[in-house]
Amino acid sequence: MAQYLVKRFAYSVLTLFIIITITFFLSHAIPGGVYTTEKPLPQSIVNNIKAKYGLDKPLFQQYLIQLNNIVHLDFGMSMVNEGRRVNDIIAQHFPKSALLGSFSILLCLILGIPLGILSALKRDRWQDNVSMIIATIGVTVPSFVVATLTQYFISVRLKWLPVMGFTSFKHMVLPAVALSFFPLAFIARLVRSNMVEVLEQDYIRTARAKGLSRGVVVFKHALKNSIMPVITYLGMLIATILTGSFVIEKIFNIPGLGRFYVESISNRDYTTIMGITVFYAAFLILMNFVVDVVYVLIDPRIKLKQ
C-alpha cells in the first residue's frame, strides 16, 4: 500500500512537471504579451513592464524561475491584476466556484441517478421515454442557453429568483441548475444503460429467487454494480465543475475562478495562467486518485496495484 502511494505520488509529480512545461512554453508562444493594449505603448514603457516582471530575461531562465517558484508553492504576482498574488486569487475565488460546483454536483446526483434508475426499470415505457427525452435535451442544449432562458423566465418574468450576483443561497439556484444540466443528463443516461445491463445478470435473478423485494434487488444488488461508470465520470466532473465555469460565472456575475482563468489567457497574464492551470491539474490528479480508491471500495475485484 505504502509502495503504491509513493509510486502514485511520483507519477503525479511527473505529470505536473510535464503540464507546467507545456503550459509555460505554450502561453509564451501566444503572440503579444502583458503590455499589449489597443493603443501601442511607447517602447520605454514596454521595456519597463518587461523588466518589472522579468520578461526581459531569456525564456529558459524565466522557465526556471517559475519552476522554482512553483516548487515553493508560490505562483508569483499576477501581471494584470495589480498588486494581487496568484495564490490569493485562487484562495479567494476558488471557494466561490467550489461552493457553486458542489451544489450543482449534488443536484446532478440527487436527480440524475434516480432518473436513470427509473428509466431502466420502466424501460421502453412512457417514464423511460420522458426521462430520456429530458436527458437528450440536457446533453444537447448548451449551458449558456439554459442559463439565459431560466434567467429570463424565472428571474425577469416571474421574479422568483435574483437575476445575478452571488450573495445568498437564492443566487446559487439558477447557476447551479444551468451548470448541472449537462452532467445530470449524462449521469442519467449512464445509470440507465448500465442498470439495464445489470438487471439482466444472473445474480439479479438469484437475488429475486431468494425472495428479496424489488427495492432491495434494485437499490442494493443492481445499483452498486451499475454505479461504476458514474464514479469514473464524477472524478472528472468534480475537477471541472469545482474549478468554475467561465460562461456561467460571466452570465450570472459570479466572482469565481473560471472567469480569471479565461481572462488570464486573453490578457497573457502568464503567472495567473500557470497558477490556475497547475491548481486545476493537481485537483484533477487528486480526484483521479480518489476515484481509484472509491473503485476499490465498491468492487472488491479491483485492487490498488499497477
Binding site: R123, Y203, T206, A209, K210, K220, R301
Partner: protein, 327 residues
Amino acid sequence: MGKLLEIKNLRTAFKTYAGEVCAVNGISFCVSHGEAVGIVGESGSGKSVTMLSVMKLLADNGRMVDGDILFDGVRLNDYDDRAMQNIRGKSIGMIFQDPMTSLNPVFTVGNQMVEAILKHNRIPRQQAWQKAVDMLKLVGIPNAEGRMKQYPHEFSGGMRQRVMIAMALSCEPKLLIADEPTTALDVTIQAQIIELMKELKNKINMAIILITHDLGVVADICERVIVMYGGIIVEQGKLDEIFYQPLHPYTVGLLNSIPRLNLGKNRLEPIEGQPPDMIHAPQGCPFVARCPRAMKICDMAKPEYVEPSEGHGAACWLLLKGHRGEM
C-alpha cells in the same frame, strides 16, 4: 406421499418480433413431498421456462397464459410479486446453471447468505450469521467462518455452487429447483455436487426438481423423470421405466445417444435434425421432423398424453393407435 407441487396445463408465452411464441405449451405434472424429479430435454425444450413460471421469475417479455400452479395446497396463480417473495427462497429454493455469475460480485458471500435468511426469519443478525456459517459447513466448505467474509471471486466454481446450494437451503425450503446445477462445472466437481445434493435431500427431506440434459445425473439422483421436447412433456415415468421401457421415440433417441464404453462403438449416435422452430411451431407432434417412426397423422395433429400404465405415459400417436411396437 401428498402432492407438493401440481402443475396443470401450463402454457407460457414470450413476446417476440413474430408475436407471442409459446415456449411451454400445456404441460401437467406433479411432484410429491420429498421426491426427486428430473426434467430432461435439449436446450429450448422449455425446462427452465417451466420452473421460472412456477417461481414467477420470467423475463419481462414472458407471461403465463394458461394453467394452474398449486404449491402445497395454495394456488400460486393468484399470488402477486409481493406474495411470491414469501414463497421464493422460503418454500422454494432455486439454484442456477452458472455459479460463476449467479452470485453478486460486489457483496461478500456472508452478506448474501444472511440477507436471504433475514428476509424469511425474524431472528437477530448474529443468529442469521451463525445459521449461514452452519449452512456453509453443511455443504462442505472448509473454514466456513473465514469464507463468509470473502467475495465470490475468491471462490472456485464448485465452491460457488456449494454456496448457492447453501443459500437456497438456508430457509429449509420444501422444494429445491436446481436448474442445470452441474452443467458449468467440470466432471469431478459435478460428481461432488450431485453427491452433495443426494446427501442433503436425505438429510432434510425436501423435494428436488432437477433440470438437466445429462441423463447420467438423472439416473444418479432422481426417482422420476419427465422428458420435455418442444414445449411439451413427451414422456414421464419412474426412473427405471424411462430407462428400460421408453415409450416415446424421442426418449429412445436420447437414451441411444448416451456414449457407452462397453458396446465397442466408436461413434456417438445422435438424433438427426434440429429441434423445432418455436416461432413457426409445428401443427402436429413437435418431434415429427426427426422421428424415425413418424406417420402421416403425426404431422397433422398433436397426440394426447396417455398413460398405458399408472404413472408412466407419453404423448405419441404410436401409443394412441394401439400398436406399441417393439421400441
